[in-house]
Homo-oligomer: 339 residues x 4
């Protein structure tokens, strides 16, 4: 951690700040520049003291050197983590494909979806039973009934189930039916939920919040890892920017960036990341080329009549074509996509 | 709702879309433009069908005309809502001031804070007992012990208590000690928590998420209102933008915008909205001039040694000076600030 | 164009607005909704009148239906434009690769760069002679001397030259030496420069400004097209968002979006789009998979000692490896990359 | 400047980087942390070498300590700069008010505007003669004829003239008629234009680009100052964010931030900063409360029929009411607003 003093900081302020650094258990190393004095604080473990030092008189700013996350860091664990959950394998050259409707709507809908996505090469089935909706007046999901239908679809097809959990009190219930707990973007910083998902021991797909930094995403993962659950997949699903021609902006450079910083596998969601069906196939292929370990895609038997997210869902033929395209890109890069 | 067809949309696609509009219970009104056809869908209540229509063949986009929120809307209730919670009155020319430390740290700390902010004119005491923290390794709050200290401070000073609740299962506990439930920015779209806060009947301070649109904020309020709780204060606390010289960007135009759209009172948080103590006084005054119904400010007896947020907290003398400045602006605009 | 009236708009206001619409040469079509009245304005050519209508009493908002650009639109010209400039071909399944140093620094530097990028498959040479720099104290380029060195490199290798022009008064000079005029991101809305580039008749590479919408980019292109120059390549080079782990956020969904809206070819710049050498190869491959018609990449013989942009430049071996990777992706998608 | 080495950086890489630091004329001070090595580079003048060091092997990142701007910095000149241009005084407790139409449209329009804004207390007249427009099909201004009308309005009212210059070749012409050269947001990084404005010696109003950082704004000012012109006013006019309920987001914390960093006066433009007439009065008052040294406001005799920007212009009565409101706030804070 580097503490930068203000231009006119007094001797007294510099000494005082150095003492505060030492009182935090760090070694203070004072460097007199030509125009400013900086104090290097050596021995820090994490940036947690960063901010309190900023309140000291004479201090201009504090620059952290070490990342605040630890267990998620590649510095701590060099070899990449491969997450396996039933039929789903994500990582190490194996690109998992999680596909299915936004919401579970009926037995028939989820069953034919499961069969269709499996036939096209998906390795897991997605489908929402508990739906967090922006408006209280929108369809909120079939809840436990939806979970049961997902489990039935697994039985019929062998596909692992990925479904969202939105509340601490539902974790056990969802974990009973699902192979992977999805934490949605709105809940990325719902720390109680992260802890509960961590304690469940079930693999977790953690979605990036639309205004979360990479550091905040990794710290959210850290809550799960710290609770004893090593099976975390990070999911880039787009961020909020000034762009309006897409619902979110999908920043694929997250993939190689996260690859460099963490051992956790990285999944991309081009459906939410673009918000428009016609943009999904190209962005799915681009995700694979950027190095993604997995894809999560919304697929619906009849997007026009979907109860949610129809505007960004692929039909079965569109999904099959997208898989072909992605598979070719994966093969060109010596990776294996889907089943 | 206006459905815009693609340039080359066929007769069949236009008819099909019009039929879908009618099947949603709306009246379809087809308008042939010189280059495009649009279909006006009349009778809509809310924009919930907007997105599913976008999946129809030949449709380019769907433009909602009515706002998706209802109960929060000024169209439904013209007269402004005034929220009263013990000593705190927010709205109708009375600018409430909620002040105190980020976290409750000790009995002495919270007591002297309560006395100091009251002496300077605050009308409620803030202080965190349950702290949502970005890192699992940061101080997480004193929990119920913190709530008890807040209640003791209320007893000593008469100030209403405003404190955050982070989980559904804590709502009853927090409601037992606090006069206002604060829903933090990270939980703005934690719908279960919003519903629980709604059912509690206790006044709620709802903070805007850092990437939430005005519409999403009002829909989050709608969850609380819809659960039967009319006492909702909206809180602007800054958004995430490309700016890095402030921790968040505080967009004060939210205040007059919300004034035009909703009857709910609007509170501004210049502490989180700037993230630096030295920017808070001017932005507090600017918030008042922009028409805010309330301010929430972080104040600490010793910011340098605060367990959290010291870098954006005012000391007691800084708070008193800020109150003076804000009071003058309020008076110039014929409003009353604080107690 | 759809004019949305306020909830309580009076008969008089509605009639007045309809008359204003008619006075603009459009046909006004009044639709009475259950809660609001909207007026469809038929016959519009472009959205230019949109904003003035918003000032009329009783008007809530005006929603444009037609895009404001015309000549750039795919509605006007369906077949994709292929831009050819000497050895550079961009479009129609041929992915052009423009590579070279940020700045021309010396004869030797630009010559060995030209030879190296050509050997690895580049089809044009980039290099800045006039450098717009954020700080007045940074290296500003070799100016005409730099242009001469570029021309010499073309003579030696046969590679087309792409170089930036920053001022109207330099257009003739730069056009004398260069095959393509590059308009930089900072100048995307320097309309005089766009007009001058349009009149020059030389192919133009137009970079998106870091906060430009797609519509603004296409309208900037429209300035060039409108001046009689059909050879415009659009270049996505990243936008400014809250992300700080990359210098800009590279939103690759621009590629399929622009493909749907315009016939102009689309080039991607992963060097500026990420700002870090280690992220460039994956994002170059992702750009190809997203459907880009061209790539522009910073390559330097010795990035560590580059006078500008070394931190995002590829070395020669890194560039060759990136080309291999991109070529494989291109071939998998039945396209041809580079020479 | 602090150079942060990667976790596993070798002895050789550390030594090599230290040598590079020394070769830049700086003193290298190596600090061995418990997990990382950092090198403090002492004696730097500006951050210009920052980026080239990032290319060295083993370097993780480079953190600049000193601001890259110099002449604009408060460290160099402590006392605030007051800019005076005819009737306009900006700074030192005197809040200048620049008001008038977006575009000069006719002799009558500009004359009655000048009289009306003067009567309400404005101290300068704004009006565009050269209009940079997003679309080539929009009204582009009356050009020299517009300048002449502005000069006539000055003669009639005594108000100083503020008008935009969009091209280097127009600087002399505009300077002949105008008291202040306005550099628009789109041209904030048009360095040739900045240099020409600098050489003209005429006071400059420099608008912040919608995605410019504070540092980029100050570096743009530095181009003008460096060319020998000390009379620069900085203008905050809103930034591009994800918000759509306002045309731009007006981040008023820029005002106290810039106050702390620079001696140059700060003007705020609530018309462009919000983009809607009904938001302007409150945000003008908020700007004054935030500490602005000046306001620039769009005022039109008949906003509904304005040739540009009518949707964000105040009518004469609205402007007079806004002035009243702002004057009260200014007086409450012991400042003087307008004439």
């Amino acid at each position: 951690m580097i503490v930068v003093m203000k231009p006119g900081a007094s001797e007294h302020e510099i000494r005082h700040t150095a003492e505060r650094v030492e009182s935090l258990g760090l070694k203070a190393h004072i460097i007199q520049g030509t125009e400013r004095t900086v104090i290097a604080a050596i021995g820090e473990k994490r940036a947690e003291h960063k901010l309190s030092l900023e309140s000291s008189p004479g201090v201009a700013e504090v620059v952290p050197i070490l990342a605040p996350y630890k267990v998620a860091s590649r510095e701590v664990k060099k070899e990449p983590t491969v997450v396996t959950a039933g039929s789903l394998v994500v990582g190490n050259g194996q690109i998992g494909v999680i596909a299915g409707p936004c919401s579970v709507e009926s037995e028939e809908q989820i069953l034919i979806s499961a069969q269709a996505v499996k036939a096209a090469g998906a390795t897991a089935l997605r489908g929402g039973a508990f739906k967090p909706r922006t408006s209280p007046y929108s369809f909120q999901g079939l809840k436990e009934q939806g979970l049961k239908l997902l489990a039935a679809a697994r039985e019929a097809t062998g596909l692992a189930i990925v479904t969202e959990v939105v509340a601490t009190e539902d974790v056990d219930l969802v974990a009973k039916y699902s192979d992977v707990l999805q934490i949605g973007a709105r809940n990325m910083q719902n720390y109680r939920l992260l802890e509960a998902a961590g304690k469940s021991g079930v693999p977790v797909l953690l979605k990036r919040g639309p205004s979360a930094t990479m550091e905040e995403l990794l710290l959210a993962a850290e809550y799960i890892l710290d609770a004893g659950n090593p099976n975390v997949m990070l999911c880039e699903r787009g961020i909020r920017t000034f762009e309006t021609h897409t619902r979110f902006t999908l920043p694929l450079a997250s993939v190689p960036y996260l690859r460099a910083k963490t051992h956790l596998p990285i999944v991309v969601d081009p459906s939410h990341g673009t918000g428009h069906t016609y943009l999904v196939p190209d962005m799915a292929a681009a995700s694979v080329a950027a190095g993604a370990d997995g894809l999560i895609l919304e697929v619906h038997p009849d997007p026009e009549n979907a109860l949610s997210d129809g505007y960004q869902s692929l039909s079965f033929p569109q999904f099959a074509a997208t898989m072909d395209r992605c598979r070719k890109v994966a093969q060109a890069l010596d990776k294996k996509l889907g089943g």
